[in-house]
Amino acid sequence: MALRFSSEMMLAVLCLALAACGRNAVRASEKEFLADQVMIFDDDGQEAAADEHISTNREGAAGGRGSTGGGCGCN
């Protein structure tokens, strides 16, 4: 019971922290540089795919690179 309560508390704190960051971290008018293509994770999808393709064939410890996105938050 204590463990469950603790997990729920941690989840709530995480959600609040994310929500707080989301509202206050950067205003819409300040996202010029975040919108630049160099700030987008894996902005070149085919390059990311090719890199993963090669590393997976050389390394057993593959996967978990992350996902495309980020930047301006204008999904």
Binding site: F33, V38, E52, R58, A61, G63, R65, G69
Partner: protein
């Protein structure tokens, strides 16, 4: 045999599922060239890839894609202390097609997709679903994706044979579905079967804007593979025998990664850093770190340099070839797969992007909103480490045919054109 290649495509499909293109055409061709020991040839892979994205109204996008792998090279048929002398040429061709549909809300995206891959000895069908949402303020994005593979691998029919008796597939064995179904062939040794491999992959990422010039992404990755995962062509010398390699049917793997971008407006450049940890139930534990710098030069040139290092421990059942030959396997499993060996790989490379953007009403080449030409080159330094006590290995690891033994093992050249219209 591109089993891992197919898996990697599934990984990428799962990893990049939240990215849905607007009206765009993206064509890239990558040339991978690797050398191996003994002058027996290396490995050449040409990988063209075409993706087309189209808007379906204001709320939906459709993505279709095609890619191929044309592979030629040499491979060691038997993993031994002198695998170089067993190297034989081979070639392979793989085709893959993909289709994806995404629905876009005000702050969210939901997508479904699928891929179908085909080569002589491997079939792959994947389905995937993904969703992402921007939290209020649009500084936090949470994305989830899931992919399931329905894969099949061709193999010699070894149904009644023990691990040390199993025969390896050869390039002369028929892998057609018909030969499997019609068992009335004269040469029973040519009989082949198709094994199932199911792969469940899930990934969760949180992308967070930290400041007007920096953002970070945290990702968790999990995957369970259940089915035949051996390379059916590979044999391993275990004592006096040379059976087909034998590895477990079930593998669970997980990884966690952190990536960070920081833009420097004063120099119009950005630094990119990432670290990743990995662990699986076969005992492979690895870590990867990457550092890169992007730099604008003028209004239409973007340069990027990067360095990456990866190191991993071997699977618990992997041995240097000498020890399989002299001590036999540790348990029922044995492999000569270099992906399951201890390695330290270093990649250094660069990329140049020429960018043309439409200005006012003047579209690029009269057609496109934006056009990008990408040229990239990477150098690979693959270091084969000792899995067992090197002092007790008089045969050494120089002729196991897992790397070239030289400073530069491989390089990649790529050229791509991305057009938004």
């Amino acid at each position: 045999m591109q089993l891992r290649a197919i898996i990697s495509v599934a990984l990428v499909a799962a990893a990049s599922a939240p990215a849905w293109a607007d009206d765009a055409v993206d064509f890239t061709t990558v040339w991978y060239q690797e050398q191996r020991q003994g002058g027996q040839g290396g490995l050449t892979v040409v990988h063209p890839q075409l993706d087309i994205g189209a808007d379906l109204g204001e709320k939906a996008t459709l993505d279709i894609g095609y890619s191929a792998d044309a592979v030629t090279g040499a491979t060691a048929t038997v993993y031994t202390v002198d695998a170089v002398s067993t190297a034989t040429p081979f070639d392979d061709l793989r085709h893959e097609a993909s289709l994806g549909l995404a629905l876009h809300g005000k702050r969210s995206t939901f997508g479904i997709g699928g891929t179908a891959g085909m080569e002589r000895d491997y079939l792959s069908l994947t389905i995937s679903g993904s969703g992402s949402i921007d939290l209020p303020g649009r500084n936090t994005n949470i994305a989830l994706s899931y992919t399931h593979n329905f894969d099949q691998t061709c193999d010699k029919d070894n149904a009644d044979l023990g691990p040390l008796e199993r025969r390896a597939l050869t390039g002369f064995d028929a892998c057609t579905k018909e030969s499997y179904l019609v068992r009335g062939v004269d040469d029973a040794t040519a009989m082949t079967v198709w094994h199932d491999l199911s792969i469940d992959t899930t990934q969760a990422t949180v992308t967070q804007n930290l400041s007007p010039t920096s953002n970070v992404q945290l990702s968790l990755f999990g995957q369970v593979l259940n089915g035949f995962q051996s390379n059916p062509y590979r044999r391993v010398r275990v004592g006096p025998n040379e059976p087909q390699e034998h590895i477990p049917d079930i593998r669970a793997r997980g990884a966690a990664a952190v990536r960070w971008n920081k833009f420097f407006p004063g120099v119009r450049g950005a630094v990119h850093a990432s670290v990743r940890g990995y662990s699986d139930t076969w005992g492979v534990n690895g870590g990867t770190a990457e550092l890169a710098w992007s730099q604008y030069a003028g209004s239409s040139l973007l340069l990027k340099v990067r360095a990456r290092i990866h190191q991993q421990t071997p699977a618990t059942f992997f041995k240097d070839a000498f020890f399989y030959e002299t001590e036999s396997a540790a348990g029922e499993y044995f492999t000569g797969d270099r992906e399951l060996s201890p390695v330290r790989n270093i990649v250094v490379g660069g990329k140049m992007t020429l960018i043309s953007v439409a200005e006012d009403d003047h579209e690029v080449w009269g057609l496109f909103d934006k056009l990008q030409l990408n040229l990239k080159a990477d150098l690979y330094l693959l270091h084969e480490l000792a899995a067992d006590d090197p002092g007790a290995n008089p045969a050494g690891r120089d002729r196991q045919f897992l790397s070239s033994g030289q400073a530069l093992d491989a390089f990649v050249l790529g050229v791509g054109l991305l057009a938004n219209y």
